[in-house]
Symmetry: C2
């Protein structure tokens, strides 16, 4: 079993750190990256501060196979991601002919001026390749192992789906879960730890849920070995039965 | 104007990185920390891997005035935060008499066994002080500048509110926003950049919104100087009027 490539996500934007904007990209990317076998190993949310962006990009691109960034590639003064990525890679930040042509045609169709602010969205690090934006034209880009995408979820998702087929993924991470109302973590902990010990390659987790009408715990087994995940899920169900409760497959509705 | 203290949040848990769980703590803490003048400057989401937790805690506690952690303090095998924090600080991880007494009484009232798994929730780094948990008794704790809280949002929020009055905050971050349907970032970018240049101490942001029935942009001014925030908001409204649109105070509904 070869090692799966790993991913890190950088969410760039003061608006997430201030609480103004609720991030909606982490869960989408976490799920999709797991599906294509490039599991997300770390996320950082960082501010629109050039040195922070540059240093963080240069740190994480050494440690992970892929780095995905969201945010900061629009036309306004606080959109500094592309320029900072260029500085991180030590390459010029310059107008990209294909991106300029795409945007010039787009604004001509719209009857809007292709002004300096909008030309900024076609200004990217030298050597980068474009990531198509089927929603609003202004592209993302890939340089080295860093994939730079928009922050607006609908645009980010479209960019990711144009990017994904070209990424060399690994084995998909699969998961099985089982839950039971009335289950208490303190009662299952010992048995669950023993299951984890028998399946060291899997990620076995225990997640209590609190609903107005019901409380209980979901147990989850994850990993790239589907047969081991099935076997662990069967043991988790047996553990719940041994505590006198009825296990229900899947997550709590 | 003295510098505000700074905060970093560590969200600890494989379940967030896999997409299984949607984090609901970042926005709450970002907002509350801004209100008490301890603005959040970075967030990291990291897995339940001891070396990662230990190294990350030791890195960020040097760089920020306060570190808040969420997740990993329950009774199961994947709840390793407290032990890792003890190792990060180089102190023993041991039963805390007050926490043991609280939990022993709680489980006696419940008629549940106070078993080894549950005693784990009273095992914390030597020298830590407890953070009360008014929801489910098992406490969080503070050691040095690191505040260790539960991952379940309702419990985390209750812990934060017991902790907050004892934190020495700074000036509250205040914010004013103005928006207009039909506004385009490419048209306002130059004028907004000029406003940012006139108010360098403020954080001026531009956030497009896309609704089924309306599109536009929200402009936001944030900072600790309320008068400057008001003045910048007035300039943002004038900028929108200059583009032939009617500014509306506040965020888009």
């Amino acid at each position: 079993m070869s090692r799966n490539p790993t991913a890190c996500l950088l969410i760039i934007g003061n608006e997430v750190l201030s609480g103004r904007t609720k991030d909606a990209n982490l869960q989408f990317l976490a799920t999709r990256l797991g599906e294509i076998g490039i599991p997300l190993r770390e996320v950082r949310v960082i501010p629109d501060v050039p040195d922070t962006i540059i240093n963080t990009v240069n740190e994480v691109r050494q440690h992970f196979d892929h780095v995905f960034t969201t945010g900061g590639i629009g036309p306004t003064h606080d959109d500094i991601t592309a320029e900072c990525i260029a500085r991180a890679f030590g390459v010029p930040w310059e107008q990209h002919p294909e991106a300029m042509a795409l945007l010039a045609a787009h604004y001509e169709r719209q009857g809007s001026e292709f002004n300096a602010a909008r030309q900024r969205m076609a200004t990217i690090p030298r050597g980068a390749t474009l990531i198509e934006n089927p929603v609003s034209v202004a592209p993302g880009f890939t340089i080295g192992n860093v994939h730079v995408m928009a922050g607006v979820p609908r645009i980010m998702q479209a960019m990711f789906e144009t990017l994904a087929p070209g990424l060399e993924g690994g084995q998909a991470v699969v998961s099985r879960s089982v839950h039971a109302d009335g289950l208490l973590e303190g009662n299952l902990a010992e048995g669950l730890g023993a299951i984890q010990a028998r399946f060291p390659a899997l990620d076995i987790g225990s997640y209590p849920y609190y609903r107005p009408d019901r409380q209980g715990v979901s147990l989850v087994a994850k990993g790239v070995d589907g047969a081991a995940v099935e076997a662990a899920a069967a043991e988790m169900a047996a553990l719940i039965r041994g505590l006198g409760l009825e296990p229900v497959e899947g997550e709590v509705a």
